[in-house]
Symmetry: C2
Subunit: 705 residues, 2 copies
């Protein structure tokens, strides 16, 4: 279906205009100037004109004698519903709505109206409030952006028109070539996932780049995963911080989301995320021109020792390794380098390096099996001829291609006036030339990272077996969620988790001091806690006593403190009694689940105590939570080593935590009415010995949605 | 003295040459081409020639009839000692040794020889193995670097010639102007501190920039602090990571130091450190052209909402705040902005912003008292005239200067071909133009950071009183360090610390099980530990028992485990007995001291347990450790909040930790024979209740140096 939009055989420009300066004029001109068949398949639509720029103009699409694949719409927002009806009647299946004036200025109703009509007629829509689209390879420019047209392999998809414009303005300097340029605007219909599914099979696209302010695309992760298997996806997401989010919401109608969840989503979708606009451009450069870096070992060749050191520093930061040259490489290099040169990596060709020294070094290092990619550094020195060295690098790149050596090569020529020409020569010939060695290392590290990511595939076996198990339980205990809704206290929450295969401590609800004493006599050590849906932070309210000496006294204290708490906070609350619970020793973990409006169930995990309270050391995962994925999430924790056992302390039962995480994700999936689950603490014993839920709370929403 | 080097009245070029391509020729040409009085005060020295480039040549400096201020030396290394003797005899007080062939290729002996001669005659030396020096304002080019000469306020000091060359090559593009360019080379005499002291009073220098691979300058911090009070210092230090350090040591003769200690040293010296070469250049740009940012509140003006969001994201990262516009600003802005514009910061002028809208916005925002600095973002749009907007920015900058508004203004024009001219116009007119909004925010944040840093001054009162106290103790207990040297066990270490004012638990050394039981009866709970200088990790050896039930049995176990440990490890060691120690409850801190070859006593502090073991959450401070400084170091810890008390847990006695840190630094200072002190754990009780040393070890070096 999207093919009608990107490869239309006939185009209607609704709102076409003869007046210079109007968007409808710019679109006409762009379509005509760039189009393969500039006149015979463009139909300007405007009741005011008989012809525009020499082409016959129609009053309505309904008057056009031909079929129309794509409508590009630039008329005022309020006129669009009517026009879209006509498009529907005409059988048009694709539209790009350039016009603004919808949700971004609060006009939600109008946007809904357009959506409904589109649905009725099965019209796929890009926009509204966008710059349009360009398909370089088909010479389609259905946009009002400035002209830059170099065919290439990058598809750039942007939520902001200005950022698109900036990219197109930078592109000629870096010699970046594009397949498609897509301005998304308000995204009332076509979402990122639609485009990604389309791009999987789009032969001219080899790299997909996003600028995102906020997603509302529930299928984003799944589509990204599919696309990332075959093509790298790079994304810059803005509006990450609070201050940033504020700016984003006043800028477009989109709701900027929570940074940690977005990061988890991108990671799950195997999307490479960048932190800055500069990094975005740098990565586009390396991915569009170089083969992937298959291993982490880099070779650095430089005529300035200092920059060699700086590049080596960066390697550690970005997770690359300085490869150890093979013996044969060292022997070969010795023949061509001055005797004072220490033949090691970074390879310092020394300040008086001429073109030949670069040439020989590159020719030798490119064959080294311990080197997966190369960074060539040059600073302007007396003996250095930047343009010649640039040529040597381009030659090396071409040689590698011919010889079937699949390694990326990037350059960093550091300087200004003396190296300008060489840099532009490199870029023209498909070698990224970065302004500093750090950027070169960063770019190569991303190439390596993507290569690692795309190969990885989680097994779903365990997850599926858990899902089967829990679905049967759901079937069996039909009213269990209603119980929680009616009385969402700790007791019921734990009961729910217990039924769903999580171990909980032995526990009894005591209504009197005597009952309490009676129950406690069956257990070793106990913890006593109030049971009340209205007291959330039980410890703070003085309603938890660990290993009490006198059970009856403890019962009374807890009940009293509970009443005082309710009174103080003016809550008309219920106290069910006091829970008498088996005291469990083990490391404390917190595991939680919440529901994200875009991505669905999100699981959080972290070590309890100071780790979560002081260091906020938690990690987020998005369902489906497979075993492998759960382990990845645990490994993301700075405190993960604690679980593995440090300084002679025992390893903890990591499999047990993983099982809990998989169950939690699945529970969130199969019970859409559950809004939030908090297990805090989850006690985890030594490896192989499991653990149990210390405390839990499940929040159920009244309205099933 | 350094004035003879930077402002010489007469110069001898030893090794001057007529042969093109030789360094001695390049230097002559550079001196003559650039010099104020190109011929009459330059004395080429070379026994092979009668004249060089039309100037009379002498066989030796001794033959020159005039006084000579500066000798620039380019002859082979092995000839230098002899020549330097002659320079000394001639009364020359300054020399720049360009020649290589010293410690950087292992020729330490020759380097020492040169040093000795220089000392004998009081000759101050820059180099050897350097590019030379340039003093732009005096038109002195005693270097063989390429020509770029724009007078300005930056003094650039580099340990690497290549990085200097790169900077000089970039400079014309950014319109950077320099006061002095100094290539340091092997630094056998003149160090960074000498230059910093000189630059304090150098009127033409307003910003000092360093590229450092390794320091051997013991006075670095003190001089930096003095200089930073009046001029910002920016430093890029390479060789920070292990891989980097390896490259550095094979590159120059310098020993690259430990990253954490360097960071502590720079911070103490109020030096702004940058992580990348690009950042270095960006900071040079803002500091050399803009007034300092006096507060943290930034105003962002943009014609692209997306980049406004990106800039706002960066603010959080770099510690700036988005200023809230004053009511009057908002009122004024309303007059000039379209009604759809939401008047807030970042101020989105919207895609169709023309030059006037920028002009009005800048004119209004510059006067806002809630705004301390401005970032102006532009992307190429239909209505945008980049060059005109650039002119408006330059105008605003000049207006602010005339009106006494001291706020920095920087630009980020994001794009390529359309904005090239405007960027270069901005730079020519003293406005930094960054390639991305993030760089602009980063640069302004450094300006703010420096302004905050330079004002801060620690009080030394407490430190001085501690020093007086400890010096008296040192006087009184003359043999105390010798005791430690002879028997550096825990008992003696703690005894030492106790005498120096640190509380230690009550403890007794028991030689028999009976003694142990007897001692323990005087205390509540006890810890029992082996006392032996040969068993370092006592817990791991099974030689620590906390709160034993049977004292005699514990004694025997510990002794036995100690013997097994020694046997297993093949150590012929001594066991003194078992320490019976009062059991102390409190939060565990580790505090340590070591001696850095360059910076002297270094103190380390961190929270014990997982914080240090898993998270490596420690901070380093360099003596003198004042109270304020010690507190800063504690606050650098991620776990600092634990000390302040979290979730209802009590605040800890932070003053007590500070006192220990001050004492530790002072002990390291007044006992130079102490190599290392480790206090682990230091128990810290609740606020006001102090704490005590749980375990300690002091290592004393045999040779006092």
């Amino acid at each position: 279906m999207l093919d009608k939009i990107f490869n239309p055989k006939s185009i209607a420009v609704i709102g076409a205009s003869s007046t210079e300066g109007k968007v409808g004029h710019a679109i006409m001109k762009n379509l005509m100037a760039f189009g393969k068949n500039p006149t015979n398949k463009i139909y300007p639509i405007n009741p005011k004109y008989d012809e525009i720029l020499g082409i016959k103009c129609y009053k309505s699409v309904l008057e056009v004698p031909d079929n129309i694949d794509l409508a590009v719409i630039t008329i005022p927002a309020k006129l669009i519903p009517n026009t879209l009806e006509e498009c529907g009647k005409k059988g048009i299946k694709g539209a790009v709505i350039i016009s603004a004036g919808f949700s971004e200025v609060g006009n939600y109703e109008l946007e809904e109206k357009v959506k409904t009509i589109a649905k009725k007629y099965n019209i796929r829509i890009i926009g509204p409030n966008c710059l349009g689209i360009i398909n370089m390879h088909n010479r389609l420019n259905a946009s009002f952006s400035k002209e830059y047209f170099k065919e290439g392999n990058i598809t750039f998809i942007s939520q902001s028109g200005a950022i698109l414009t900036a990219i197109l303005d930078i592109a000629p300097l870096l010699n970046l070539g594009f397949s498609k340029i897509i301005s998304l605007g308000n995204k009332i219909d076509i979402q990122e996932s639609d485009l990604m599914e389309y791009l999987i099979h789009d032969d001219t696209t080899e790299v997909v780049v996003f600028y995102i302010e906020g997603l509302k695309d529930k299928k984003f992760i799944e589509s990204a995963k599919r696309l990332a298997k075959v093509k790298p996806i790079i994304a810059l997401k803005s509006g990450k911080t609070e201050a940033g989010a504020k700016a984003a919401s006043s800028h477009t109608g989109s709701l900027a989301g929570d940074a940690q969840i977005y990061n988890a989503a991108f990671k799950k979708g195997k999307v490479l995320t960048v932190e800055t606009f500069e990094e975005l451009v740098n990565l586009m450069h390396v991915f569009s021109t170089q083969p992937l870096m298959k291993g982490d070992k880099i070779g650095i060749i430089t005529n300035a020792g200092g920059f060699g050191v700086i590049a080596a520093d960066s390697c550690k930061k970005y997770g690359l390794t300085i490869g150890e040259f093979e013996e044969s490489t060292r022997e070969e290099l010795k023949k061509y380098l001055p005797p004072t040169s220490s033949i090691s990596n970074p390879l310092d060709l020394i300040g008086d390096a001429d073109t030949n020294r670069y040439k020989n070094a590159l020719n030798i290092v490119k064959n080294d099996k311990n080197i997966d990619g190369m960074l060539v550094i040059l600073t302007p020195q007396e003996m250095t001829k930047p343009l010649e060295v640039a040529d040597v690098i381009v030659e090396t790149k071409n040689k590698m291609k011919n010889e079937g050596i699949s390694k990326p090569i990037v350059a960093s020529f550091v300087g200004g006036v003396s190296i300008k020409g060489a840099k532009s020569y490199l870029r023209k010939n498909g070698v990224p030339a970065y302004i500093s060695p750090e950027s070169g290392i960063e770019a190569l590290s991303s190439s390596y990272k993507y290569n690692t990511m795309k190969i990885k595939e989680d097994s779903c076996e365990y997850l599926n077996s858990i899902k089967d198990e829990l679905l049967k339980i759901k079937e069996k205990y039909k009213d269990i969620v209603k119980n929680l809704l009616n009385n969402p206290n700790e007791y019921n929450s734990k009961e729910f988790l217990k039924i769903h295969g999580m171990k909980v401590p032995k526990r009894y609800l005591a209504k009197t001091p005597e009952e309490a004493e009676n129950y406690a006599s069956n257990l070793d050590d106990v913890v006593m806690k109030i049971s009340s849906p209205d007291i959330l932070h039980k410890s703070d309210a003085g309603c938890v006593i660990v290993k009490p000496k006198d059970i009856k006294e403890a019962f009374n204290t807890i009940m009293e403190n509970g009443k005082i708490y309710l009174e103080k906070n003016g809550i008309e609350g219920v106290i069910d009694g006091v829970l008498i619970e088996e005291y469990i020793e083990g490391i404390e973990i917190i595991v939680g689940g919440k529901r994200d409006a875009v991505f669905g169930p999100v699981i959080m995990v972290g070590l309890g105590g100071v780790f979560v309270e002081v260091l906020k050391d938690v990690s987020f995962g998005i369902h489906p939570i497979t075993r492998d994925y759960a382990l990845d999430k645990l490994k993301e924790l700075k405190s993960y080593k604690v679980l593995e056992g440090i300084r002679g302390r025992p390893k903890r039962d990591i499999d047990f935590i993983i099982d809990i995480m998989v169950r939690l994700g699945t529970i969130m999936e199969i019970y859409p009415e559950i809004k939030e689950i908090d297990i805090n603490p989850l006690f985890v014993k030594e490896d192989g010995k499991g653990g149990c839920v210390g405390d839990a709370l499940i929040i159920v929403e009244n309205n099933e949605n």
